[in-house]
């Protein structure tokens, strides 16, 4: 049996999620922002698996599986869009990509 209680995993995942949010808000490079989103998704996956373990189910595993599928699809489209932006503009700094007003 596992000696580590569920709440430790949940707290770990909460820290990981907050770090992802921090990266999203602090960083200015689009690619790094995207990586921060991957961190958030990983925190979510960890929560799912921890709950799944606690509940003796595999449903959470399957949700995680789908989150990974979506993350892969989003990364593919997102990076293609990022390349297009770079081709047209030559920068990936979020401060410079601002021809639309805020």
């Amino acid at each position: 049996m596992n000696g580590v209680p569920l709440s430790w995993y949940l707290v770990l995942s909460a820290i990981l999620f907050s770090l992802g949010v921090a990266g999203f808000l602090f960083r200015r490079n689009i690619i790094t922002i995207f990586m921060s989103i991957e961190l958030m998704l990983n925190a979510v996956n960890l929560t799912f698996i921890a709950f799944s373990y606690d509940l003796r189910q595999v449903n959470g595993h399957i949700f995680t599986f789908f989150v990974m599928v979506v993350a892969a699809a989003e990364a593919a489209v997102g990076l293609a869009i990022i390349l297009t932006v770079y081709k047209n503009r030559g920068t990936l700094n979020a401060d410079d990509v601002n021809s639309l007003r805020f």
Binding site: F17, G20, F24, I30, I33, F34, I37, M40, L41, A43, V44, T47, F48, F51, D54, L55, Q57, N59, G60, I62, F63, F66, V67, V70, A73, E74, V77, G78, I81, I82, T84, V85, N88, R89, V97, N98, S99, L100, F102
Partner: protein, 498 residues
Amino acid sequence: MTPFYTATDHLVLLPAIMLAFFGCAILLLDHWAPDIMALFRAANPKDRKWLLPVFVLPGIAFTAYTLWRQQSYLAASGATDIQAFQGSLVIDGFSLFFNWIFLIASLIVAIVSYRYLDIEGEHHGEYYGLILLANSGMFFLAAGSDLVTLFIGLELMALCFYVMVGFLRGDRRSNEAAMKYLILGAFSSGFLLYGFSILYGIGGSTKLAAISEAMAARELDDPVLWLALITTAVGLLFKISAAPFHMWAPDAYEGAPTTVTAYLSVASKAASFAFLLRIFLGPFAASREVWEPILAAIAVLTMTVGNFAAISQTNVKRLLAYSSISHAGYMLLGLVAGNETGLQGISVYILVYTFMNLGAFLVIVALRRGNLIGDEIEDLAGLMRRSPGMAMLMLVFLVSLAGIPPTAGFLGKFYIFLALIETGHYVLAVIATLYVAVAIYYYFRMVRTMFLDPSAEQEPLAGSFGLRLAGVSAGVLTLAIGDYPEPFLRLAQTSILR
């Protein structure tokens, strides 16, 4: 072992199958279009431009037929809903109502796009394929009753929209809009998923019904319940562009091709709202006391931001983006009221909003010509003299968006106000009414430009046949719903989620 693909499953899934099938078929057809045109002895290869939208029509027609079959099956069975895929999908009045709206929006957008995209030089089969695939994603959002199905449906829709927003690949604004939309969309999905993971932990299942039961069994001051509620709500409010989470909407709306903006503002918003209602009236129904004041505050903030930011805009697409944010605030108020009138009011509002907002964007689409993008307010100048028909249509849509009586927009707002008064939210009703006055100001600034300002351009607009047809239909419906509301109200009555 339970049989996992029954006849009921098939019946319930058919509309999505049709949409996905025709979405893929159009991609192939795009490849073979020149050969098909040769078959019809069309000398001009440019004729291909009408072939693609025409091929969308059977897709929509078949889907409509399957939806109609579901409707008659539901009516014949006498039950309130039909479950399929072991409770992953559910067909009820709610899902059917929303699916009809998505389908109508797809139809209108598909038939108006070809001239616009041709001018932009980006008329490709992928565009139509993505419209139908996005629509199949929306189907799962309206009909899903399982967190996994809802999530995958949401991402299917969102992914199609990210690509469609960035469809003008050579245009900087379009690229940028796609990027911002994608980044913020993925960020909000992260929050939504965090909420879902907690919901899964609470319910021990991904089915909405099981989660609802587990949530109802919890105390209202249970911190875990709050955590699930807040993170899920943040994700959902992002998707409907409610106020502190609205910043993606103006950028995405302005940068996207105008036809996509029309689709995004109507179908995506309706689908996200269906999703929000499924969650708030399902798992969160028992904790209404907790979220009602929060949502009320967010609704007021949304209307404030939307209306006041709209005043200072000079770009029509951006202005309509802010106005659509404020409309989301009104719709949320219906959920805050939460009684039968309020929920019916949301359905009526979404129905009405579909026609009037699509219509307003169609006129902007018609303004696009050779070197004029046509999305600044000055571009509307003198429209009355240049093409009176379009100007009158725009007048109808703007009057309706402002919510003035003979048109449909009034009906939507009226039901929301009525629900607020019935449930004793007098302050909210007064605030909502005051914002109508603000809205009248900025809509009528556009009307004044259209009717009074002299225009530099003299040429009449050259809208395509599909565009004129869609514009006139949307205009007629906007007036019809306002003047003969009974059939539409009855339709909305059936859509209440119980």
